[in-house]
Each structure stands twice: as structure tokens, then as C-alpha cells.
Amino acid sequence: MSKLQGLSFGLATVVLVVLATGYFMRDWLPPLKSDRGAIDEAMAATLVVTGLVFIATNLLLAFVAWRYEDHEGAKAAYWHDNTRLEIAWTAVTAVIMFAFLFNALKLWADMTSEAPRDAVVVEVTGQQFRWVVRYPGKDGAFGKTDAAKVDVDTENYIGLDKSDPDAKDDVLMVNDVYLPVGKPAAVRIRSTDVIHSFFLPNFRVKQDALPGMTTKTWFIPKVEGDYEIACAEHCGLGHYKMKGQLHVLSPDAFEAKLVELGPAAPEAPAGSPNQASE
């Protein structure tokens, strides 16, 4: 009886987990739409290695649990050290870890590097509970913002200072981001209240939005289409519905869209603004 328990112990875990993993691989990561495939590869490699370690250790556990159960006349061995063995497995683990590290740090360096010069710049500002999106317009410069200048009626939620010359052609809208396909997109991420996190599941992009500072991330959208923007940091009651849309357009359509949205029509409600907590 006990023996069976010991065996089922490890085996069941391995079998169940492996089966379940196989099953759920169907909808593994959300389909990749950006240049960040390297993350997926790193993840797959990690899955293989940790998966093997998982299977091996759990099988071993099941084996010893089954093999060494107490019975009449059983005798346990008496040994308690084996320096060679210990050094060996410490070293092997260390080597595996360094292999992972090497790759991870390289990726990290790529992903946190400065955006290319020719990137399309867009700013998103997290607010309870919407994403305010801003393009710098033709001059490529964002106008100043000032909390005192917030005006709900004109949807100037971030307090864009209209008297600043740089602000003249800034495009403001809510919850909709447009990006051209195939061109690097540099996102300036800000917040005016609490911490949010700009999360694009399909693009392997996530970057917190902190009040008081501007964080940055950049990536290249690869496939046209509409994608969801989520908020990944608990930011209050509406956190679960702080949703935006990312529209990846062909370069021409993108240019046209920018013109259409142009500074002349900042009040055109471009998205469905979620009302801040009712």
C-alpha cells in the first residue's frame, strides 16, 4: 500500500504535468507580432531544460520512494558525504545557470537599448483607468504638460500646455495607439497618478508607467492588425478594465491616420474612454 503511494507520488505528478503541458501548449504564448521572438526562443529553451530537470528529479523521487520503502529485514546504507559527487552537481548546475544568464543578459541588453533614431515616437500616459496617447506631430517634439491645465471637456487629461509652441501639433487621444508595421516604435511611458504597466501580450512588451518619470521601451511591430493593450500593474478598482487598442497599419495608412487625427481635431474622441471610477 505504502509502496504504491510512494510510486504514485512522483509518477502521477510527472505524468499529469507533462500531459497538461503538452495539452496547453496549444495556446501557449499569444501569437507573436513583434521582433521579440528571441524571448520566445529563450522561453522554449528554458522550458526544455527545466522540463527535463523536472522530469528527471521527480522520476528519481518516485523511484527512491518506491524502491526504498521499509520492509522486513531492510537495512539502510550508512554514508553521508561524497565530495566528488557534490562538487560535480554544483558545477553542472552552475554551468547551466551561466548558459542561461549569458543568453538572458544579451537579450536584456538588446531590449533595454536606446531606440533607433528613425523610430516612430509615441507617448502613452497611464491614468486611472485609461491610456492617454500622444504623438509629437510634425515637429517631433512633445509639448509641455502641466497638471494645472487638465481639462476634461477637451479631453486634455494630461494637462497639455497649449501655449507651448511644441504643443501646437501634438496629437492627443485616448486608448488607441497607431503604429506603422515594420518600423521601430519607441514608446515613452508615463503616468499621472499611480503605477500602471503598459503591456502588449502579442509583442512581448511590458513596461511600468511611473508617475514622475518617463520610462521607455521600443520594438518593431511585424504584422498588421488590431491588438489589445492591457494594464499589468494593480492600479486600483478599474485595473481589470484598463484596456487599450494597438492598431498596426501599413506605413501609408499610418501617415494618413496621423494626418486625419491631426492637431486640428484633438477633441475627436478616438476611442471609448473608460470613465474614471464612477
Binding site: 509641455k144 504638460t145 508615463r190 514622475g212 518619470m213 518617463t214 520610462t215
Partner: protein, 101 residues
Amino acid sequence: MSESTHGSPYRVYWITWAILLVITVAMLMAERFHMPRWFLIVFLVAFMMVKATMIGGNFMHLRFEKRNLAVMVAAGLLVTSLILFAYIAPESWSVLRSTVR
């Protein structure tokens, strides 16, 4: 205790006191000599550490205790603080860099 075998048993405290005062005065004067700011900071921090060592070693008797105790205190206080600061300092510069206005 070894210190009580020579001269007045209290001498060590008052010598320490005098040294601490001298160092304090030196630290106060340091600003008068126009040195680069980073040098001033290094100078002040170095003397601060000397003072701390004097207080810990002589007033608090760490010099006369078993070495382990001194190591424990130094490791506990200094290393932990240094780790915290070493990570926080570069952070403060990058926060500054990315502040918007």
C-alpha cells in the same frame, strides 16, 4: 582588560575623545580648502568611518572583544548598508535622468 593595566584606567576614553574632536574639527575645516567636490566627499566619508571605528573600537570595546563580534557587527551593519546603497545610488541617477518636465 588590557587597557586598565597601563596608567589610568580611563585614559583610553579621553584619548579617543580628543582624537574624535580633532577629526571633527578637521571635517569642519575641510570645506575651506577648495577641493573638488568628489574629493571632499571621499575625505568626509573616510573621516566619518575613522570616527565610527574609534567609537566602536574604543568606546564600545570592540577592539578588546573577540574578533568574531567585531566582524559580526561590521558585516551586519556595514555590508548590509553598503549593498542597499550600492544598488540604490545608480538608481537615483537614472531616475533623475528620466524625470520629465
